[in-house]
Amino acid sequence: MTRAPKFAVLSIAALIVAGAAVSADAKDKVKVGFIGPLTGGVSVNGIGGRNSADLAVRLRNADAKSKYEYEMVVLDDECKPNVAVQVATKMAADKDIIAAATHYCSATAIATVDTYHKFGFPVIVWGAVLPDITYRNKYEEVHRVNGTMINQNDANAELISKLGYKTVAVIHDTTDYGKGHNEYFSKALAKIGQAKIVGTFGVTADQQDFTAELTKIKALNPDVIYFGGLTPIGVRIRSQMDKLGIKALFDGTSGIVSDAYIQGLGPLAEGTLAFREGAPTEKLPGGKFFMEKYNAQKYDNPPEAYGAFAYAAMDMILDTIEKVGPDRKKVIADLANVKDRDSIVGKITFDDHGQNTVPVITKYVVQDGKFVEWADSEYANGKRKLPGQK
């Protein structure tokens, strides 16, 4: 309680000294957190997210009007649930850290929700898409700015059916993420009832060789191979499909929407489908602003697909702390009433599970080495044909 008057005196003093040059030293330091996969196979996405969250903090610190000086504590979950629980505990146990933007991998996000709940530590998930993260429990600490995989798989099944494909083989990794994709895609496809699944193959998330599974799939001769998993094995499966002479359409999820997928495959990436919640970074309401600021910081890596969401998550945390002060309970209380809040990813509204109700799903197809929006692509207007497209 003695802190507030002191702070007020200091800030008034600072204001008197020089209107514009408010010394940063005069502001109280507040710590916020970021967790993502910074090492391992999906580290590009983690580093892109880390940079984006860092950008939000830097811009805030550069803003003379902000009340606090922020410091971002970054921890690495390696995309592994066991590591994630450790770092989440470490971060949540540190009372100086007020809130955090957490997790790109669904497997780690779902593993840590109980930890955050136990410590009363408010988090906003910035990249993981497994529905259970927000919907399994009703934890007031856990929020999410990006959409869930239910929406993207509905859109996926719908497009596949609309294009007239009849048979689908499913490959998914056996983490919660891949299993979730398999479940929701299979459900969505069955609901439409046009195409049927001829085989489902679970693979480990770091598997190298898929020739045995793909040979089996080759015998089933499906029109489409649906893949529920992340970029590294997506690249391998697509490349080994070619080796075995499989001509089916490769239909991916948000997990492969990254520059790394195209770099890893070169021309072979052409004609791959993928789906993601929200709109492409350039088309987001604040996308241009975000990319300009991001590029100005000269980070080594691009923000990748979920960078804008990491930025939005961190920005919302900072906004909230500015508003209610560095107090976990107050932050949680304020985040419970987020409605039509403006952000660079569009309006954010949290439902009673802390889930942002993002309605937009963007459909992508790889065309000439880029993820192009389906509606704008030459595949949609008939100039080019996907494998087996009628």
């Binding site: 391992g40 060789d209 089996k216 080759k218 790394a260």
Partner: protein, 306 residues
């Protein structure tokens, strides 16, 4: 199942087995001369594959556009560089720990593996991403029914067989091989016979690590994709293959490699449940084999207790 598909499975299994065998032979060689398990072996393979990829980029920058020339230079550079790395590891990490408990060597090489792996990720440009590996072998293939026979696979298998025959010849028909076998059998007697123990150990590590580089390049050519994590898994499998074959026996390592690949393929194809369990199946069989024959399928002539 029709014959075409069966042939396809056999071909897949053979390619996989060849890579496992090459890695396993390295483990066996190191164990033979020094009685150590060098866990960084798989990651040396990764570094080898990335060295080859960097060489390729360099060659293209110099304007060399011949696939054959590229491939030869890549193989030679990667093999020599890894042979050198192997010597450095042996000289400065493994040999100084000779009188320490074997666990220390195991731990230190395990950590070195992590260092190598993470270095590739951090220092190779965009090293965290999967990297496309150039297809330098002829891409022709013949379709026989459902069997897609690729010429490059045949070439790689042949090259692998030749390398293994070469190693056999080196070990059994040359003076160097005799020295290696002598050191493997009894270090002290070998020393009294005038064999330069240190030199032989270093040569063996160079040989094994060069083999890893070869396997790394083969891995790249086969999958047309490499990433910083390939060595970790290949290391574990190669090690298991060497163990089931009987550590210290070259034939055992080769047998182990192909056996493991065979088990994985069978695990995917024959078992009714999801292919996710193929590693569970393969490793479970390995455990069973080890329980049945603790010293491996092919025993060393003189059994050693570790």
């Amino acid at each position: 199942m029709d014959a075409g598909l069966l042939a396809q499975y056999v071909m897949n299994g053979l390619m996989l087995g060849m890579m496992y065998a090459l890695v396993a032979v390295g483990f066996t060689l190191f164990f033979g001369v020094l009685d150590v398990i060098k866990f960084s072996h798989g990651d040396v393979l990764t570094v080898g594959a990335f060295t080859a990829l960097a060489t390729y980029a360099g060659m293209r920058m110099l304007g060399v556009n011949s696939n054959l020339l590229d491939l030869i230079v890549m193989l030679v550079t990667a093999t020599l560089a890894m042979a050198f790395l192997g010597v450095v590891i042996a000289r400065y990490l493994v040999m100084p720990l000779r009188s320490a408990p074997a666990l220390n060597t195991l731990l230190i090489t395990l950590m070195l593996g992590t260092v190598l792996r993470e270095s590739v990720r951090l220092f190779y440009p965009q090293g965290a991403n999967p990297k496309p590996f150039p297809a330098l072998l002829p891409r022709t293939s013949i379709d026989i029914g459902d069997f897609n026979l690729r010429f490059d696979n045949v070439l790689m298998l042949t090259a692998g067989v030749l390398v293994i025959i070469g190693i056999q010849y080196l070990l059994n028909r040359t003076k160097l091989g005799l020295a290696i076998r002598a050191v493997a059998q009894d270090e002290e007697t070998a020393r009294t016979m005038g064999i330069n123990f240190t030199a032989i150990v270093l040569v063996t590590f160079a040989l094994g690590s060069g083999l890893a580089a070869f396997a790394g390049v083969m891995n790249g050519l086969y999958y047309n994709e490499i990433n910083f994590g390939i060595g970790l898994y290949l290391g574990v499998v190669g090690f298991s293959a060497a163990i089931i074959g009987g550590l210290g026996s070259i034939y055992g390592a080769i047998l182990g490699g192909f056996l493991f690949a065979g088990l994985q393929t069978i695990g995917t194809v024959m078992l009714p449940f999801a292919s996710a369990y193929k590693d569970v199946f393969a490793f479970a069989v390995v455990i069973a084999i080890m329980a049945w024959r603790p010293t491996g399928l092919i025993r060393e002539k003189i059994s050693e207790r570790v």
